[in-house]
């Protein structure tokens, strides 16, 4: 039954891929109009790659659909995903979404609060998201990792990391 769900997800993914390639292909066709007579122009190469990619993706979608229908027939109607598997799937999804969101927030807040503070917060939040609960790890590691990174990359290699704005900039200047 799990395989049937996997195949269903794969079909959705394939549809997204085909839509992406078709959308880009339409843009490439517009590019093809801008060219001098006798030249390949800027659109030719993308049209060639995108149309081949679209064609191959359609073949992949069809073959996945055939496999899905075959496996769906095989799987019994009563068969359902067990509660444990469902809980595991939900937990996995939660941790993935959390790790994605945390990285996005880290990137977004870095210019405002500076590299040092954002890294400190990010490391703490990320290890919490990975279900780390040992107190000494939670307290020591964000400080240690940030201190090491800042010493090597901001002090030694002198990468101009964002310092933040206002009071945060003043704080960052104290460190690097």
């Amino acid at each position: 039954m799990e395989e049937v769900f996997m195949k269903r997800d794969e079909i959705i993914a394939n549809v997204v891929i085909i839509s992406f390639f078709i959308f880009m292909l339409m843009n490439a066709l517009k590019l093809h109009e801008i060219r001098r007579f006798g030249e390949m122009g800027s659109g030719f190469w993308p049209i060639l790659t995108l149309s081949t990619a679209t064609l191959l993706s359609i073949i992949l979608l069809v073959s996945t659909l055939i496999k899905y229908l075959k496996e769906k027939k095989k799987a019994s109607v009563e068969a359902t995903i067990s509660k444990e598997v469902l809980f595991d799937l939900k937990n996995r999804r939660k941790k993935f979404v959390l790790s994605v969101l945390l990285l996005l927030i880290y990137i977004m807040i870095m210019p405002w609060i500076g590299f040092v503070l954002s890294t400190l917060i990010y490391v703490l939040a990320f290890i919490l998201a990975l279900e780390e609960r040992r107190k000494y790890v939670l307290i020591i590691s964000p400080i240690l990792v940030t201190a090491l990174i800042v010493t090597i990359f901001a002090k030694f290699i002198v990468i101009p990391f964002p310092r933040g704005v206002g009071i945060f900039a003043a704080f960052s200047r104290l460190i690097y």
Binding site: D9, E10, A13, I17, M24, N27, A28, L31, I34, R35, G38, E39, M40, G41, S42, F44, W45, P46, T49, L50, T52, A53, L56, S57, I59, L60, R92, K95, F96, L98, S99, V100, L103, L104, Y106, I107, M110, P111, T119, Y122, V123, F126, I127, A129, L130, E131, E132, V137, S141, V145, I149, I152, F153, F156, I157, V158, I159, P160, F161, P162
Partner: protein, 498 residues
Amino acid sequence: MLEHYITAFSTIFLLQNILAMLMGGLWGIIAGALPGISASMAVVLSIPFTFAMSPITSFTMLVSVYCGSITGGSITAVLFGIPGEPSAVCTVIEGYSLAKQGHAAHALWVFILASAIGGIFSVFVMMAATPLIANFAMRFGPPEYFALTLLGLSVVSGLSGGSVLKGLISCLFGIFLASIGTDGITGVERFTFGTTILLGGISFVTAMVGLLAVSEIFIEAEQPFQEYKGSARYRGLKEEMPRLSEYKENWLTLTKSSIIGTIVGALPGAGATIASFLAYGEAARSSKHPERFGNGAIDGLMATESANNASTGGSMTTLLALGIPGSNTTAMLLGAFMIHGLQPGPLLLNQRPDIIYGIFVAMLLTNIFLVALSVVGVRMFLQLNRLPYSVFSASIMILCAIGAFGLNNSIDDLYVMFGFGLIGYYMRKYGFPIAPAVLGLVLGKLAELSLRRSLLLSLGNPLILVTRPLSAIMLFFAAVSLIYPLIKQPKALKDVEM
């Protein structure tokens, strides 16, 4: 040529370069040993450290990381039965069998020395072959370059793991990505959608950090909570020193495997994994004791290890002589060259012989030092294994962010890295191999420019691609390598992702 070597030796023996070599080699061994960190990821994570270094120090460090990570990939293979690198799959079969029989130290020594022999052999081949190939490649025009890039792309797509179809789609996606940004010939903006972030094209170092490293962390983050990366259950290397007679008995296997490794490594798209499988297969075929294979065959372990390390010299030859990366890792090195404003290829050998000969010497010394470094590396790896897993993942994510930011000191690059991290995650999840996309991204621009230049030369006649003999031969091989895997895919490679 001799003066170049004298200069290179005197440069490499400067304190900063020796330190870079030792640090790089050690980090490579440890990173290669850690499951989840591939050779290319080890190189990606080292790039931020090279921002403040001179080009020669940077490349000394990066090639040491490259060679070290291939060697390190076999440490976990022998000790825990987990291949740190896909190329260490055969090492698991023989090395782990030996470890289970209580000969872990012996297996480690065998692979460390066999790796060094393979690596040093391939460096000598690289030293001899690179100038010859580069001089030959000076005759290449746009049609030959187009054929060459197509050859590289076709081999990768064919040997990209379980599904050739997915490999091809992944490769075409990479080629498409390479066309984003301002067109180099007409100056037209392509697929930028009015944003300035994409105007200069997609930096492939940023894209690769996202596709390879960030996506890996996302995948790992999903896994159930792990306290540590692994557990140590090994006493020390002093237990069983290898006998010289073992090497005398297997000199032919070592030589054959080193040759196979170097040649396969030099082929665009083929890499350490294929090299080790082929050498292992050949060793099993020609062994006096084929019944030992699978149960701790010393010659099998020597074959796979010398071949996968010999592939490094082969891959570097193609990169330095032709500017074509043969694998993910050499693609990363190509990115590093570009960060320093250098373009590998036939011209670089004439323009900057100090860099090319410096790399030769650095690789030679690295392979010699790796014997000693492996001994230290095994100990350090076992210590690092005790680092809390969550902290380890967080540190790698920060290193990725620094690598992407440090290229142009721009927050925009972090968003690009984030986007590619997500793309890489879904590609892995749905079985699309990453390697073809990366090579498509790296080679796509060169392929397009060469094709358009060829057609400009021939006034639009595509026959120019097949009427020039060299181009025709390479196109023929490209077609064969594209079609062959569709007809017959090696069974052993089906489950191995590049």
